[in-house]
């Protein structure tokens, strides 16, 4: 059943980052053959859900330095400043390139690109395509990628393992879902763009596919993950479904109200309420601070009790139907559909929801990981520009900037490498055997996937939520070890080959367990509070000890170990984060 194919550059992941990288490879060296593996059709990737917009300096009164500063202070001085500078500089060009490829960006009446304000940004610099920015970006990238004959697609293939030759990554093993066939896809360079891991938590805006597969693949192959403790909660998710109400709703002027109809953010050092939005203030503060304020409101008994836990209200009524239809049609569509309410006339119940992982595969400015031949970009990677808290609308742009950089770097790397050897086939055969023995042909397993998954998610929410403590994290570490052991006893109902989605679920669970462990270890070791990582037992930021990136690696016995790497500071020495002033 084993098949082998070979390419020059292999992309794992066909979301915003993956497709951008694929095109970059094709444009850097048209002679290279590029392959894109994706476990869903590329245009189904999670980038499609992104709503609000993508940041890039374009306004005349804006400057690159200001975007840098907002990003660095927003990330609580954990971002690498050289990375941020490169990012901010290339951002407008990448967004412009997308314009040339057909992205339907919103426009000013004179035909120029329109920008909107966004949380934590001092200037208006967020490009948007109504409130379906990610959707339009992804479809533009996907449709543009169809133009390049050099790009081969492996749609609905699930990557299960990286192929290694003497410490160098030379491809991957993937299962063709439709048939269950195992395929070895060799390549001179591999780029991982598999997106985030929000599904490790129970209540998330993330799609079903965001299970951290690429992080786990890399981690198992021996490269470290970086800053995994920083998990972003978005302050406005719809209860029960976790569907996101975009930050653009606040940027356009929405209010956050507690149960007394009071704009409570003014009590949390985020400025004084004004009728119209003020940048870097109140509702346009950064996500970590807004989510933390929610927890405090809850503790004070000032939230509203809903059928799915406490909520606060997002009020858009004063914006009027016309503005809501023009700028936030998708928000209205989602509210009508899933909450049966019309934001034109009613308050939207919202609560913080897991949204994004700042951490990821440790890479340099060109997406290169410490493993030869392995690159990473997008949410799966950590360059890092997001530090301890990502600013809204930076990550779509990140996918483009670092997707392109990784693509170019991988293309150059691949151009000078010898082709991978045939002996990699043995590794693939071994992997095929593992899949059969552990899952497909195995009988008598007693654990159900859904049970383990639910226990893991609950553990993560309870111990690694908006606020954490040493005690809760310690407990979680133990619990995850237990779940890892129980995973060995997993049993599938489905033993067939064609489209075995249960096999996929099992493999995804394995990825999530590894990623969850890395998150907990990093969170446990970081004894300070910074950005999205808030320890109740260490409430202050500690630059002395922790102005550093956590690097978590897997030990021989499978358990994680954490070390630290310095943060690159160029022009913005650490300072206090100030909003609303």
């Amino acid at each position: 059943m084993l098949d082998i194919s070979s390419h020059d550059v292999l992309l794992i992941g066909g979301g915003g980052a993956g497709l951008r990288a694929a095109i970059a490879v094709a444009e850097t060296n048209p002679n290279l053959s590029v392959a894109v593996i994706s476990k869903v059709y590329p245009m189904r990737s999670h980038t499609v859900s992104a709503e609000g917009g993508a940041a890039g300096v374009i306004g005349k009164n804006d400057s690159l330095d200001e975007h840098c500063y907002d990003t660095i202070s927003g990330g609580d001085w954990l971002p690498d400043q050289d990375a941020v500078e490169a990012f901010v500089k290339e951002a407008p060009l990448e967004l412009m390139r997308l314009e040339h490829w057909g992205c339907p960006w919103n426009r000013e009446p004179d035909g120029h690109i329109a920008v909107r304000p966004f949380g934590g940004m001092k200037k208006e610099r967020t490009w948007f395509a109504a409130d379906k920015t990610g959707f339009h970006m992804l479809h533009t990238l996907f449709q543009t990628s169809l133009k390049y004959d050099a790009v081969a697609r492996y749609d609905e293939y699930y990557a299960t393992k990286l192929l290694m030759d003497d410490g160098q990554v030379q491809g991957a093993v993937a299962v063709e879902l439709s048939s269950g066939k195992v395929q070895a896809i060799t390549a001179k360079a591999v780029i991982i763009c598999t997106g985030g891991c929000g599904r490790v938590f129970p209540f998330t805006t993330n799609a079903a596919i965001k299970t951290g597969d690429g992080m786990a693949l890399t981690y198992r192959a021996g490269a470290p993950l970086k800053d995994m403790e920083f998990i972003q909660y978005h302050p406005t998710g719809l209860p029960f479904t976790g569907i996101l109400i975009t930050e653009a709703a606040r940027a356009e002027g929405g209010y956050m109200l507690n149960k007394d109809g009071y704009r409570y953010l003014q009590d949390y050092n985020l400025g004084t309420p004004q009728p119209t939005p003020v940048l870097r203030s109140m509702e346009l503060g950064p996500r970590d601070r807004l989510s933390q304020a929610f927890v405090k409101e809850f503790e004070r008994g000032r939230t509203v009790e809903g059928p799915y836990g406490a909520v606060v209200h997002l009020d858009l009524r004063h914006l009027g139907e016309k503005k809501i239809e023009a700028k936030l049609p998708f928000v209205r569509e989602l509210c009508l559909k899933y909450e049966n309410l019309d934001p034109v006339r009613e308050l939207i119940p919202v609560r913080p929801v897991v949204h994004y992982v700042m951490g990821g595969i440790h890479t340099d400015l060109n997406g290169a990981t410490p493993l030869q031949g392995l690159f990473a970009a997008g949410e799966a990677a950590c360059v890092s520009i997001n530090g301890a808290n990502r600013l809204g609308s930076n990550s779509l742009t990140e996918c483009l900037v670092f997707g392109a950089r990784a693509g170019r770097a991988a293309a150059e790397f691949a151009s000078v490498q010898r082709p991978p050897g045939r002996h990699l086939l043995a590794q693939a055969a071994e992997e095929e055997e593992r899949l059969q023995d552990r899952f497909l042909n195995k009988s008598g397993g007693r654990e159900r996937i859904a049970t383990l998954r639910e226990e893991m998610q609950k553990t993560m929410e309870q111990s690694a939520g908006i606020y954490r403590s040493g005690e809760s994290l310690q407990h979680a570490a133990g619990k995850l070890r237990e779940l890892q052991e129980r995973f060995e006893d997993i049993g599938l109902d489905d033993h067939s080959r064609a489209f075995n989605t249960e096999l996929v679920a099992a493999l995804e669970l394995a990825s999530m367990l590894d990623v969850a462990e890395s998150v907990i270890q990093c969170a446990l070791q970081r004894q300070e509070s910074r950005g999205a990582h808030q320890r109740t037992d260490f409430p202050a930021r500690d630059d002395q000890k922790y102005l550093a990136h956590s690097l978590v690696s897997r030990q021989a016995d499978g358990s994680p170990v954490v070390s630290y790497a310095p943060v690159t500071i160029t022009r913005w020495p650490p300072a206090e984060r100030v909003y609303g002033k």
Binding site: H46, G102, R107, L334, Y338, D493, A505
Partner: protein, 247 residues
Amino acid sequence: MAEQIAVEVTRFSPERDKTPSIQSFDVPLRKEWVVLDALNYIKDKVDGSLSFRWSCRMGVCGSCGMMVNGEPKLTCATFLTDYAPGPVRIEPLKNFPVMRDLIVEINDFLGKLSKVKPWIIRQKEKPVTEGEYLQTPEQLDTYKQFSMCINCLLCYAACPVYGLDPMFSGPAALALAQRYNMDSRDEGKEERMDILSQHDGIWGCTFVGECTQVCPKHVDPAGAIQQYKLTATQEWFKSFIMPKGAK
């Protein structure tokens, strides 16, 4: 015990079965549950082998299209209670080959999509450093609706012409072609016309109009195709009036 609803789903395994069959499951009937939640309940709690596609569960990734009581629907945007007291029948999208349970083969569509060249075609690219191609909100508005397609393929399941003749390019691919044709930045109308005005292209459509009715994103492929017929006809006559060298 909570209220229940009977959910009848299509089962098919190419390895075991000659033809698909129907299996019924009892699922709790919850107010906030969409059809997809019911399927996930079955997969998680009852039978892990039930296979179907889904991802975003917010109606934008386009993977979860299925027939719900005979109508093509996004199962993540279709509420279970609308079908109470049941039973509700979930089948794979019509007009496509069934690969497994509720999963259909859609590579055919991807091939058709590539064929209509859904990308901006320019005679001459301008460097990104020179800024954007200007496009007024009005110009944006002429094609915006057709750019909203999530490739969910509900329209193909609703179009009898596609059902009868799988060679037909079909509503979404044609609407997306029209999306680029109408884009003020594009210069590829000519190139696309050669492909689209073949028999399998726009002329295959007999304006059944169901594609537009079932489209969850209000793309209106039926309108796109008829408008395109009009343009194609104009072009056809133009090529008569100015035969040689006409652009």
